[in-house]
């Protein structure tokens, strides 16, 4: 029994922290917010040089073969810096290929993903915003050799940066997954305008897009449970990012409360302020424990859904609170565009219902227990 970071993980965390402090200060995040580009290519090539996209790709396919819990260490730091990058979306897509793909598919895509030459993302959700298999209406029609995909996808994270889309489709009464190059004829990517400008997502339309049947990942109509497990692993890194963002919002507010004076004292001396900050810390430490455990559970527990749901539900609460209170503790300046407090709040609003709201995950926690 050992529930803490290893020496290697501490080292990784420190490296990532150093990089983000020097290469991705809030000014850089604000540049990305203002930019029209799909993503910050300069930042992407730097992290590719450092080998980050390779971290969780298996060693036999050009990766470093690290564990999912190692990725959580990084995700937390990225959240702290509101790192504007398709990095995590692409890592989750790589996990899907590594776990569900054939040897041929893995050899074809994983080395490119590991080197950072290719960015991928999962395209699952549709207009219905239904997280279950029932929400997938995009149709795959096969004539044996070719498959024709028709329909549209919604809220696809970082689709505008992706060269490869992993598209879930309805086939044979079940769900199939297809590797679709983003530049295939009939694919249209329409960027969405998000409440959190540091993030990117798009609507993706597939108008009779033709792919080879060898682009099908896994068995026809039978991948939903595997895919759902990959999505859960993605939910854990999202929750880790949220914990990091919440912690940064808390530290920002606490530092302000130490220097801002009213009634002759730093406002951090008043219980009305300090107790709110303490409550946020309780939420952050609690959700951090749940997130770390869930990151271990996705690779070690037979059914990690309960652990994942608890992590995401509590992380949402922590970031909600840190974001909202962070603004209030700053007072009027917290409402300004120039104050960074708003950035964490926006991240919270964006992430709360991403990959399932706390209410969704509470309900799922009971239903996976048969209650």
């Amino acid at each position: 029994m050992d529930f803490g970071f290893s020496a290697d993980q501490e080292q990784l965390k420190a490296q990532v922290r150093r990089f983000l402090d020097s290469e991705c200060p809030m000014d850089r995040v604000r540049q990305v917010m203002a930019a029209k580009e799909s993503h910050d290519r300069g930042l992407w090539s730097k992290i590719a040089e450092l080998g980050w996209p390779a971290l969780t790709v298996p060693e036999s396919f050009g990766g470093l073969g690290m564990r999912w819990e190692d990725l959580v260490v990084i995700a937390e730091e990225m959240g702290r810096s509101l790192f504007p990058s398709p990095f995590l979306a692409s890592a989750v897509a790589a996990r899907a290929i590594a776990l569900m793909g054939s040897e041929g598919q893995k050899s074809r895509w994983l080395p490119l993903l590991a080197s950072g030459d290719l960015i991928a993302t999962l395209a699952i959700l549709e207009d219905s915003d239904d997280l279950s298999a029932a929400g997938i209406g995009l149709v795959a029609e096969s004539d044996g050799e070719h498959v024709v995909l028709s329909g549209s996808k919604m809220f696809i994270p970082h689709a505008q940066a992706a060269g490869l889309l992993l598209v879930a489709a309805r086939e044979h009464g079940g769900i199939s997954l297809f590797a679709v190059p983003a530049d295939a004829a009939g694919v249209t990517v329409t960027p969405l305008r998000l409440i959190d400008q540091s993030q990117r997502a798009a609507r993706v339309t597939l108008a009779a897009v033709v792919v080879e049947s060898s682009d099908r990942i896994g068995e026809p109509g039978a991948v939903w449970s595997d895919l759902a497990a990959v999505l859960d692993a993605g939910t854990v890194v999202l929750a880790a990012e949220m914990v990091g963002a919440a912690d940064a919002a808390l530290r920002l507010a606490a530092e302000y409360a130490k220097v801002r004076k009213q009634f002759g004292h730093p406002i951090g001396r008043f219980q009305g302020v300090k107790h709110r900050l303490a409550e946020i810390l309780v939420d952050i430490e609690s959700s951090r424990s749940l997130v770390y455990f869930a990151s271990w559970a996705v690779d070690h527990q037979e059914d990690p859904r309960g652990a994942v749901s608890m992590a995401k539900a509590y992380a949402s609460q922590a970031l909600d609170r840190a974001g909202e209170e962070g603004i209030q503790i700053h007072g009027a300046i917290g409402f300004t565009w120039e104050c960074d407090a708003q950035l964490y709040y926006k991240r919270g609003r964006y992430c709360r219902n991403l990959a399932g709201s706390p209410e969704y995950h509470h309900e799922r926690l009971l239903s996976v227990q048969g209650i």
């Binding site: 029994m1 730093p266 309780v282 609690s286 509470h362 309900e363």
Partner: protein, 402 residues
């Protein structure tokens, strides 16, 4: 991260389970579908001999004072085995791991660290064997959250201290043979430095105990008056003026809150069963989306508490001190203790207003008792507001209150 246990630890878990199958006096309750409050099973008087036998069986195993050094009569066990023991006995809904509750929780650790050899010989075996029960003389009418402002005094007179003053909210005072008492011995010193710790027999001349009735109708605590009570100098624990350190150490003893978490896991299980058999608003309560949200939220908080406790335990196993961060779990526990009673009574609907002994009372008023007893867990040992000050000041570096 590694959540597996070694072969030796798993063997220990099996040993604990086998022991509980035979020796746990509550095993009938645990096997039943819905655990009732303890006193439904048999009256308190019937229970006492069984509880003493339980304590004796534990002593023979070396499982009372499990983590205490062998030299003083403890079990000399490791932190992980201790966790396993607490988890398993909690799951089996066994009585506490030793009946001398305060003795085991704070007094023993204080004596082991600060006591003389004579004090260890005199007090530790009696705590382990449940011959001595202890209460703690900390709070006073004017000193609650600001404990260090206490005024109960002791004046040296030859080889005795003469104590005068008052303590209050003293849990178990009526049933205790001994009190660990904080007194002011140096009124001129800074408030934390003028305090000394004394071990006081409750039958000493001049000690007067007046029970206080709590809102649940029980008398769990008392006022204790000291009218020139004489206590020999050898009953002092630690040096004169060291009382604050002794207390801090004693209160810091249990860090990972495993026993509390196991108790809450049991409550949650019972609540889920309750929600399956009660109807509220025209349907079975477990089908009410709001009840479901609250149950899931509660489970999430309990699991967070369990895991945060394991992070603290890991820190200890790696040789580090665990300090102010334990306030995180204390605050979660406070919120949970209130919500458990609140949710249970909401699930029961109108039946939630029926207490023990009433026609129609559910589980013989067990949940009503919880709803009327939580302050003893939430306020005793430091109010949530004080825990928040601790977090804000020590973990976030915010300015001190006043």
């Amino acid at each position: 991260m590694d959540f597996s246990f070694s072969e030796r630890e798993e063997a220990f878990r099996r040993e604990v389970r086998e022991f509980l199958d035979v020796s746990n006096p509550h095993r009938v309750v645990a096997a039943g579908k819905d655990a009732q409050s303890d006193d439904d099973v048999e009256s308190a008087m019937d229970r006492l001999p069984k509880l003493l036998a339980w304590n004796q069986a534990l002593v023979e195993k070396g499982w009372v004072g499990f983590h205490w050094p062998k030299e003083v009569g403890g079990g000399g066990g490791g932190l992980i085995e201790q966790m396993i023991l607490k988890q398993e006995s909690g799951k089996a809904r066994a009585p506490m791991l030793g009946l001398s509750y305060m003795g085991l929780a704070w007094v023993g650790p204080g004596i082991i660290k600060y006591g003389t050899e004579e004090q260890k010989r005199r007090f530790i075996p009696a705590i382990l064997e449940a011959r001595d029960h202890w209460c703690t003389g900390y709070s006073e009418p004017g000193s609650g959250s600001d404990l260090a402002s206490l005024r109960c005094s002791a004046v040296r007179d030859g080889d005795h201290y003469v104590i005068s003053g008052q303590k209050t909210w003293t849990s178990l005072a009526m049933w205790s043979q001994w009190m660990i008492l904080l007194v002011r011995t140096d009124p001129g010193a800074a408030k934390h430095l003028g305090i000394t710790c004394l071990l006081v027999p409750m039958d000493a001349a001049g000690v007067e105990v007046r029970p206080i009735k709590a809102m649940n109708g029980e008398t769990p605590f008392a006022e204790v008056f000291f009218n020139d009570v004489r206590v020999p100098v050898e009953n002092r624990l630690g040096a004169e003026g060291q009382g604050w350190d002794v207390t801090k150490h004693a209160l810091a003893n249990e860090r990972s809150s495993i026993a509390e978490v196991t108790a809450m896991v049991n409550h949650l299980e019972d609540l889920k069963r309750l929600a399956k058999r009660c109807r509220s608003n025209g349907r079975v309560a477990i089908q009410d989306p709001l009840v479901r949200q609250r149950l899931a939220r509660m489970e999430t908080m309990i699991e967070a508490m369990r895991l945060t406790g394991l992070r603290f335990l890991t820190k200890q196993l790696r040789g580090h001190e665990v300090g102010a961060e334990t306030s995180v779990n204390k605050l979660l526990r406070a919120e949970l203790e209130v919500e458990i009673g609140r949710l249970a009574l909401d699930i029961e609907g109108r039946y939630g207003s029926l207490v023990k002994g009433s026609p129609g009372a559910i589980d013989n008023g067990k949940w009503q008792r919880q709803a009327l007893t939580w302050p003893s867990y939430v306020i005793g040992g430091g109010t949530p507001n004080i825990q928040k000050n601790v977090i804000a000041e020590r973990l976030l570096g915010l300015p001190h209150d006043a």
